[in-house]
């Protein structure tokens, strides 16, 4: 077996082994046993790193091992790996965040009732996530896609005693399923057209050079692409399925970091990057539009949130929107770049917030306060003195996400914005301009709310002095990952050997070349695109720098210097209805609840009522009550007719006829004679008339 395959297998199954170990033997191993899981993660990190190293050192990874899973003659399913540069880079991202989160969790989750099981679930997640990354076919990806959904469900619901946590888990799973159905349909469409599930099979089928299976079927391909994209919409929390992600913050913060910021939610982007070569321009446009809407939407909502994790969650939604938009703009390289940088800085931000929450929690606990919400930023303030490491690392993260130069976020975001500008310049329709506007607008808002978060948390006066006294920096096991991630937020790590902080060129872009995956579907040639980006890059840098500056400046004016009072402004905005929109998340939950969820539950109730009560009640309670009910249910006459008249009715008619028959049986023999004679005459006439 090829060593690369072996490495991939180990990366895939080592976390699963740790999962099985923790689930079944966790209790026996005790809390110390979780170090085994941590160690396993670091082993995968080393392996991933070694694979990445070979790639970076010049050997492109192009290894597609596969085995037959089962075959039914012509219908065959294979399992295998798509080991290419993209996968290796993604593996590395997953391994870094995952191992750091493992490490971080050792302290963060200490004393939890289901301590070991938590690590088991983390292992399950890492396994599934690696599976998505390595999957060589849509089916295999779908399998792991669902499995990450499961682990996400389990981890969000880790504290399932809390109803909100349990509900959030369910919401996440179900919302994801909506997208998954689309993805499944998309898979079937691809399969029906191309007869294969594997990526390279599909690429070949679509490739203009080869036999073009989709010749003349671009509509089909568009639809299939959009359908598969629905999976990404669900998983990457894109509009309109973004609602689950903020709720998912009910899970432990390291989980939010790992799953709901850095890796799993990025899986959608990863998949879109993977699928990029077979997406048609029409499909890409839809993708881009969804991404743009999400980017703006998430950013706007984040402004008004007070829960520290929710701000980050909406920020994640927004950033994912960026990435998806980038894919839609054809800037898939930028999308993936942003994915990687975002994983680092958003992971960092989450871990920092976790650190803050941990400290708050600890402090409130010491104080004996169990009512105050440790995640509400209004209860914080001035923490920078108590938690310097956290403060500094979080500040770095905030700078990175805001797109301030000298941090990784600047480079990737800039690439995306350049992509939108290039798109706008290539497409001359009026709406093409909306993409860069959305991009830059969201960038400004991002800078604003991120610094709002920093200022509210770390600056100003502490809101609760007593608790403040109990605050302290978190232990080294937790701060160490912060530092590591903060370091990884420096652009240097992505641009080596190039050292220019304004230039994104470097090993990373070499690993994921923009042109490599292009097929004939993009109207613009690869080089043309490349050129467009270069052109746009020059324009994007100053604009993005200025919008970031604008956002930060506004934030400083509001929250640090207090020149403008946020509360007054909030009230003003409230009066014109804008504040609520943001604060209540554009009422998405309410709208879904009112338009989909409740009607649907009502419908199922009715369906069940028709299916059962209508029939049963009628049977038991007799006619009178049900006539009323039947009247109420006139809308359901169809089924009413079916079950009532045809099935139950057969019985009732039989009974009714029987009753008539009984009445004929009067007990008076002469009546019998009369009936008999009359009956004979009738039968005779009937028979004679036939």
């Amino acid at each position: 077996m090829d060593v690369r395959t072996q490495f991939a297998l180990i990366i895939l199954f080592l976390p699963l082994a740790s999962c099985v170990l923790q689930i079944f033997f966790g209790r026996r191993l005790g809390p110390r046993g979780v170090w085994i899981s941590v160690a396993a993660e670091f082993v995968t990190l080393v392996l991933a790193f070694s694979m990445l190293a070979t790639v970076v050192l010049g050997t492109p990874m192009q290894h597609y091992p596969e085995v037959e899973w089962f075959s039914l003659g012509t219908f065959t399913l294979t399992l295998g790996f798509q080991l290419d540069n993209l996968a290796v880079a993604m593996l590395m991202v997953v391994a870094i965040i995952s191992s750091l989160v493992h490490l971080y969790s050792v302290e963060y989750m200490r004393g939890d009732v289901r301590y070991t099981r938590y690590f088991g679930y983390l292992g399950l997640f890492t396994f599934s996530m690696n599976g998505i990354v390595l999957a060589h076919s849509l089916v295999m990806m779908f399998i792991f896609w669902e499995l990450v959904g499961l682990s996400s469900y389990l981890l969000i619901g880790h504290w399932f005693e809390k109803d909100s946590a349990a509900s959030a888990g369910r919401k996440a799973f179900l919302t994801n399923r909506v997208g998954d159905i689309g993805m499944f349909i998309g898979i079937m469409l691809f399969w029906a057209a191309a007869g294969t599930f594997t990526f390279h099979g599909l690429f070949e089928a679509v490739d203009v050079e080869g036999a073009n299976l989709f010749a003349g079927q671009t509509t089909l391909l568009t639809v299939a692409g959009i359908m598969v994209f629905m999976g990404a919409v669900g998983k990457s929390a894109q509009f309109p399925l973004h609602i689950w992600l903020p709720d998912a913050m009910e899970g432990p913060t390291p989980v939010s970091c790992l799953i709901h910021a850095a890796t799993m939610v990025a899986a959608g982007v990863y998949m879109m990057v993977r699928m990029f070569p077979i997406l048609t321009p029409d499909a890409l446009l839809v993708v881009g539009a969804v991404g743009a809407i999400t980017a703006v939407l998430g950013a706007l909502i984040a402004i008004t949130q007070f829960d520290i994790k929710r701000v980050l969650a909406y920020s994640t939604v927004s950033q994912l929107g960026y990435m998806i938009m980038a894919v839609g703009m054809g800037a898939q390289q930028a999308a993936f770049f942003h994915l990687a940088t975002h994983a680092m800085f958003k992971g960092l931000l989450f871990l920092c917030s976790g650190s803050v929450i941990h400290a708050m929690h600890h402090a409130l606990h010491e104080k004996g306060d169990h009512n105050t919400d440790p995640q509400d930023m209004r209860n914080m303030g001035g923490l920078r003195k108590k938690m310097p490491i956290t403060y500094i690392t979080m500040l770095i993260g905030a700078l990175a996400i805001s797109g301030v130069p000298l941090f990784s976020g600047f480079l990737s975001k800039d690439a995306i914005l350049a992509g939108t500008l290039a798109f706008a310049s290539e497409h001359h329709q009026w709406w093409a301009v909306l993409f860069p506007i959305a991009g830059f607008g969201a960038a400004a808002v991002t800078a604003f709310y991120m610094f709002r978060l920093i200022f509210m948390t770390f600056h100003g006066k502490p809101s609760d002095e007593k608790a403040y006294e109990h605050m302290a920096e978190t232990p080294a096991v937790m701060t160490m990952p912060l530092v590591i991630l903060a370091v990884l937020c420096l652009p240097l790590f992505f641009t080596l050997p190039g050292l220019n902080p304004f230039q994104a060129e470097g090993w990373f872009t070499n690993v994921i070349p923009q042109a490599e995956n292009l097929t004939g579907f993009t109207e613009l040639g690869a080089e043309h695109l490349e050129h467009g980006f270069h052109e746009a890059h020059g324009m994007a840098v100053p604009i993005s720098m200025s919008v970031a500056g604008l956002g930060i400046a506004l934030s400083i004016i509001f929250y640090l210097l207090g020149w403008l009072n946020p509360k007054t402004w909030a009230e003003r905005l409230w009066r014109i209805g804008l504040y609520q929109l943001s604060f209540y998340k554009f009422y998405f939950d309410e709208i879904y609840d009112a338009l989909i969820y409740r009607p649907f539950l009502w419908l199922t109730d009715k369906v069940a009522w028709i299916d059962w009560d209508l029939w049963d009640q009628r049977f038991i309670d007799g006619w009178g009550r049900n006539t009323v009910r039947a009247g109420n249910a006139s809308g359901w006459l169809d089924y009413h007719w079916l079950d009532q008249i045809v099935i139950d009715g057969f019985g009732r008619i039989t009974n009714g006829l029987g009753a008539i028959g009984r009445r004929l049986q009067t007990g008076r023999v002469q009546n019998y004679l009369m009936w008999a004679l009359a009956g004979a005459i009738i039968v005779f006439l009937v028979a004679a008339s036939i």
């Binding site: 019998y672 008999a676 009956g679 004979a680 005779f684 004679a688």
Partner: protein
């Protein structure tokens, strides 16, 4: 064949009549305490001897007494059914508590004479014999139904029976007289010969005569709309007699009707693969099909409403007549053999069900389904047997009733006619399940298991269990019975 020669072929019947004389004499001269027992024994012996003579009768089909009676395998088959039914009733009668207040010896005597009538019905070839044999069976049945003189229900039952019976036979007689008028003879073969020459204009009269005759036959087999007497009479009569009436005279009615109508209105006198001849203005097969549909439907749907077991079984017996008529709508060898097979099976299952009713009646004195509660735990063996009889009556495998029903349905399907009737038969089978299950439900489901056990006389429970054997056996291996039926499908015809 002349009268003297005929006697040798008439031995089983002679045994029956002469033993009746012996019994009367015994009755007169023997006044001991064991009179009932003695006469019971004598009757059984008489039946046994008759059976032996019947067994020895292996001659080819022939007609005796100047063509008045047929001696052929067909009639013999039915005679076996009558004997079997009678013996079963004889065996259990001493243990039926209902009869305790009345002299059983006369009961045995009447039954013996009724058997004689049944024998004649199975072999009648002459309209006068047809009429007389039906009357013998009827009058015997009237008396037997009213056997419990002190009981109001028994009286009411026999009153209704006699009035209904008398009118039916009167109407039938009128029909027979018209038939006689058209054909000019009382012998069925002569009639058949004459009918082929009947002018077209007389056809409608023929049809009406046929209908009038059918009134009489229909009354005997409880065919709707001539069934009205059935539930009331069955309910009021002693249960042993009800059981008997539901099996033997019904079988005799079928035997008689198939033979007489088959010869006179069928296409071939030996009834081999024949069909109903069209009588102008009256498609005979359709007529029977309509009667069949009405019979099974009415029987089943009214049965659903019953709370008395005897009455329920009465309606169910009406429905079963309907099933059998289904095959009679197609008059061919398949159909006749299917009916014969079904009658044989019906004998076991229906008698079995009634015997269980007697079993319960002995214990509780009444026959509401309610009172069967818990029988499944108090007398498990009998209850299981009842379950098997009921499943068989419903027509579920692996019981004989299933096979019987399959044969009946297969007649229609093979002939590719009367599909609607087959479908109706299906629906009826389903409906019938409902009320049979009510009994089963009462026995097994309506009460908790108890330790209390009830038991009947071993002869009674033994007979019940014995009847279960053929019901199950013929359900999985019915070749012997079918072979018997097939070999009995041989009719006397003058052309032979």
């Amino acid at each position: 064949m002349s009268n003297i020669q005929s006697l040798t072929y008439f031995l089983p019947e002679l045994i029956l009549t002469s033993s009746a004389m012996v019994i009367i004499l015994t009755d007169v001269f023997f006044r001991g305490r064991n009179r009932n027992r003695l006469i019971w024994l004598l009757s059984l012996v008489a039946l046994g001897i008759a059976a032996i003579f019947l067994l020895l009768q292996t001659t080819p089909p022939d007609a005796i007494f100047y063509g008045a009676l047929a001696v052929d395998p067909y009639s013999r088959f039915f005679k076996w059914i009558f004997l079997l039914a009678t013996v079963v009733i004889y065996v259990v009668s001493p243990y039926s508590r209902e009869l305790d207040n009345n002299p059983r010896h006369e009961y045995y005597l009447f039954m013996l004479l009724v058997v004689f009538g049944l024998f004649l019905m199975a072999s009648a070839l002459d309209l006068i014999i047809v009429y007389l044999s039906i009357e013998i069976v009827s009058i015997g049945s009237f008396v037997l139904a009213g056997f419990l003189k002190q009981e109001r229900l028994s009286n009411e039952s026999s009153l209704k029976y006699v009035i209904y019976g008398a009118l039916s036979s009167g109407v039938m007689l009128y029909g027979l007289s018209l038939l006689f008028g058209i054909a000019g003879s009382t012998n069925v073969f002569d009639i058949q010969a004459a009918l082929s020459g009947v002018p077209d204009k007389a056809h409608l009269t023929l049809a009406v005569a046929l209908l009038l005759v059918l009134t009489g036959f229909g009354y005997k087999i409880a065919m709707v709309p001539f069934h009205f007497w059935t539930p009331d009479v069955y309910q009021g009569a002693p249960t042993t007699i009800t059981a008997y009436l539901s099996v033997a005279p019904k079988a005799a009615g079928f035997a008689l009707a198939l033979r007489i109508l088959g010869i006179t209105f069928g296409s071939s006198p030996d009834m081999n693969l024949g069909e109903w001849l069209p009588v102008e203005g009256l498609p005979f097969g359709t007529l029977i099909a309509i009667f069949s549909a009405a019979t099974m439907t009415v029987g089943n749907i009214i049965a659903i409403q019953q709370s008395s077991v005897k009455r329920l079984l009465a309606y169910s017996s009406i429905a079963h007549a309907g099933y059998m008529l289904m095959a009679a709508a197609i008059l061919n060898a398949q159909a006749v053999s299917a009916i014969m097979f079904y009658l044989a099976v019906y004998l076991f299952m229906n008698l079995g069900a009634f015997l269980v009713a007697i079993f319960i009646h002995n214990r509780y004195g009444y026959d509401e389904i309610e009172e069967w509660k818990g029988l499944g735990f108090q007398a498990p063996a009998v209850a299981v047997a009842m379950g098997i009889f009921l499943f068989s009556l419903t027509g579920l495998p692996p019981t004989a009733g299933f096979v019987g029903k399959v044969y009946l349905f297969s007649v229609l399907i093979e002939a590719q006619q009367f599909w609607w009737l087959a479908v109706l038969g299906v629906l009826n089978s389903v409906v019938s399940l409902y009320y049979y299950m009510r009994i089963l439900k009462a026995m097994f489901l309506d009460s908790e298991p108890t330790g209390e056990r009830i038991s009947g006389h071993p002869a009674l429970s033994g007979t019940i269990l014995l009847l279960m054997i053929p019901v199950l056996l013929f359900g999985v291996y019915w070749s012997p019975l079918m072979n018997l039926v097939r070999s009995s499908l041989e009719f006397f015809s003058p052309g032979m």
